[in-house]
């Protein structure tokens, strides 16, 4: 039955007829000429295999297990790269010095965790790091309404080409790496950069302004780079949200005499609020996860005090100072607090909106 059905396919697809389909060799000769025949040949092979399989597999249970076996290799990958590293948390309870294996390292219990809160110097550093983390995340959350405004502004443009052009140009920075952003920052704002050269050539300043190598307004600068990179992209979600608003709402508002501004305030913004709320919740749950790329590339001796967020601090402690155990301890605390935040936000979302965010 299998063979007959696939021969039929061959006859309909390749016009050479049954002969070539039956004789595998000849078919192979005609192979490169016609793609469809090649496909159906493979198809037939697979079907034969499937039929064989069907004959062998007696019960559903065996089949169910076989299906699982098909994905098992990938599940192993997940286990190796997402679950096994969790066992690495054990290093937080040892005094692990890399060349010495863990089995010979000294078990120190909670020493690293105690050190975090007892050693005054350490405590001051941690405090500053947390302050930076909270400031950067807080500033990002405070400006999270800007993409909404950008989307509304863009939506008010009638000319479609202009709208598309602006959208394309403003989303481009989202797709470059932070290293490139830094390269751009360097080209524009270093002491020999475009801005300083221009200002000097105009004799507005006599000394280059240190935009990058200074401890001033680091939080604000990081926020601005973040906005430069992400504002256009962040607005796309809201643009889609605006496109999905029921036109009847606008019609009704117009009948009521609302002008464009009133329509924005009374229709567009309230309609976008659910989307905004979900994204806000997500950013709150990611409060501690600023990532480290941005802060790492912009980091230097001058701004380090103000730029060191938690993720970067973990890197600097663990890889820079080679204190793997202390780094692990901080990593672990951070991960636990993050999961806690996520659960909390999810619970809040369920309470207030009836739907969770995860």
């Amino acid at each position: 039955m299998q063979t007959s059905s696939s021969t039929e396919t061959d006859e309909t697809v390749g016009m050479t007829g049954g002969a070539a389909a039956v004789l595998g060799r000849e078919e192979e000769a005609a192979l490169d000429a016609r793609e469809p025949e090649h496909l159906s040949r493979k198809d037939r092979r697979a079907r034969r295999k499937a039929a064989k399989m069907a004959a062998h597999v007696a019960g559903d249970k065996k089949h169910a297990f076989r299906l699982w076996l098909y994905v098992a290799p990938l599940l192993v990958l997940v286990f190796l790269f997402s679950y096994v590293p969790l066992f690495g948390w054990i290093y937080a309870f040892y005094d692990y010095q890399p060349p010495i294996p863990l089995s010979e390292s000294k078990f120190v219990g909670l020493q690293w965790f105690e050190m975090l809160v007892q050693n005054p110097a350490q405590l001051r550093t941690i405090g500053q790091v947390l302050l930076n983390t909270f400031a950067m995340s807080g500033l990002n959350i405070l400006t999270s309404f800007l993409p909404v405004i950008f989307a509304i502004m863009l939506n008010e443009i009638r000319a479609k080409w202009f709208k598309n052009l602006i959208q394309t140009l403003t989303t481009l920075p989202n797709f470059i790496s932070w290293v490139l952003v830094y390269s751009i920052a360097f080209a524009m704002f270093s002491s020999t950069g475009m801005v300083n050269e221009t200002l000097m050539n105009l004799h507005l300043i006599s000394e280059p302004i240190k935009f990058l190598d200074s401890p001033d307004q680091v939080w604000l600068k990081m926020l601005l780079w973040n906005l430069w990179k992400g504002l256009g992209w962040g607005s796309i979600m809201y643009l889609a949200g605006i496109a999905g608003i029921d036109p009847e709402l606008y019609e009704a508002a117009q009948v009521d005499g609302a002008n464009r501004f009133q329509q924005i305030i009374h229709v567009t913004i309230p309609q976008l609020m659910p989307t905004y709320f979900v994204l806000l919740m997500l950013s709150i749950s990611n409060f501690l996860n600023n990532g480290m790329d941005q802060y790492y590339v912009f980091q230097n001796a001058f701004n380090q005090k103000w730029i060191q967020v938690l993720d970067l601090y973990v890197y600097n402690v663990g890889m820079g100072q080679n204190s793997l155990s202390l780094g692990t301890a901080i990593s672990m605390l951070k991960s636990l607090v993050s999961v806690g935040l996520l659960l909390l936000v999810n619970w809040l979302s369920k309470r207030t909106r009836g739907v969770g965010i995860v």
Partner: protein, 319 residues
């Protein structure tokens, strides 16, 4: 609520369709001002977003002396390709480009196949403990061990200073699997059933029916994965000490830092001023490498923008 109690100022009737957009002719003065300001602001922001790229490109092509003097701000001065010739001849760069291309291609192909395959397999109701294993995969989206434990684990696997650390941990991406699974579930299952009646096995159904139908979503996954791989910097920083395995992004980072120190020493040393004028300067090298790194993104981006946007939408629907 929306009865004809509209005030006299809105005598104009909204036209039946297209009522969401008010027609151009009945803009008030305030609205006209708003439109002008709006267009200006949007244009300004678009310029801020794109000018730096333009600046890098024109400076990398201009006379290095003029570029160093900060005279190249609007247009190329003294077009020449020497910077590109020099940079492409740099020893580490070719290798780094090769590494970046390899990880992008291999990583993207593997993650697309794995996402499609797992997404499809997790729609197979008959699988043993299907929903448990699905959760086993998806939940990894919400936690991670942290940078240092990850580093120790990779070291124990022998994956530090190993090309495969770029690829292997990124193969199974829960988010992509959710995307594909949702997409497949939206395809009528009668197709698969019909194929099964014809005797097609699981793999045949996957390869012949599901995979071709998933091309739109897989294109999205591929684009995101490719951009992620190309831009990735942190993994080189953490796992690689062997400069043979540096990615282009990491090499760019080292160039920027070297360039800044070299540029400073050159500035301090007046004897080097002549050299700065004629030869390729560190600044020029830095900008040229930046252009080379950003060029692939700038080329593919306009063509694939719709995929990016679609991916974002689908992600949003899933929440």
């Amino acid at each position: 609520m929306t009865t004809a109690t509209a005030p006299a100022t809105t005598a104009k009737k909204p036209r039946g369709h297209n009522a969401g957009i008010s027609p151009a002719m009945r803009r008030t003065k305030g609205e006209k001002v708003f439109t002008v300001v709006n267009v200006l602001l949007l244009t300004l922001f678009a310029l801020i977003c794109t000018y730096p790229f333009y600046y890098l490109i024109i400076n990398s092509l201009s006379n290095n002396q003029a570029a160093a003097a900060g005279e190249v701000n609007w247009w190329i001065q003294g077009l020449h390709w020497d910077n590109y010739k020099t940079v492409l001849g740099l020893d580490g760069l070719g290798r780094a480009a090769w590494i970046s291309v390899a990880r992008t291609v291999i990583g993207t192909v593997l993650t697309v196949l794995a996402s499609a395959y797992l997404g499809f397999m997790f729609t197979q109701q008959k699988m043993w403990k299907r929903s448990f294993w699905y959760r086993f995969v998806v939940i990894t989206m919400y936690f991670n061990a942290g940078l240092i434990p990850m580093f120790i684990t990779m070291k124990n696997y022998g994956l530090t200073n190993n090309f495969w650390v770029y690829v292997l941990p990124a193969i199974v991406q829960p988010f992509n699997i959710i995307l594909v699974k949702t997409y497949i579930e939206s395809i009528p299952s009668s197709l698969q059933e019909a194929a099964e009646v014809d005797g097609a096995g699981t793999f045949t159904v996957f390869w012949k029916i599901v995979l071709p139908m998933c091309t739109p979503i897989l294109a999205t996954v591929a684009i995101f994965s490719a951009v992620g791989q190309w831009n990735s910097f942190q993994d080189t920083l953490i796992y690689m000490t062997d400069s043979k395995l540096y990615s282009l992004q990491y090499l760019l980072y080292t160039y920027i830092n070297q360039a800044s120190s070299i540029a400073n020493s050159v500035k301090a040393n007046a004897a080097n001023a002549a050299m700065l004028a004629t030869a390729t300067t560190p600044t020029a090298i830095r900008m040229t490498v930046s252009v080379i790194v950003v060029l692939p993104i700038m080329f593919i981006y306009p063509f694939f923008q719709r995929f990016f946007v679609k991916g974002m939408m689908l992600g949003a629907v899933k929440g």
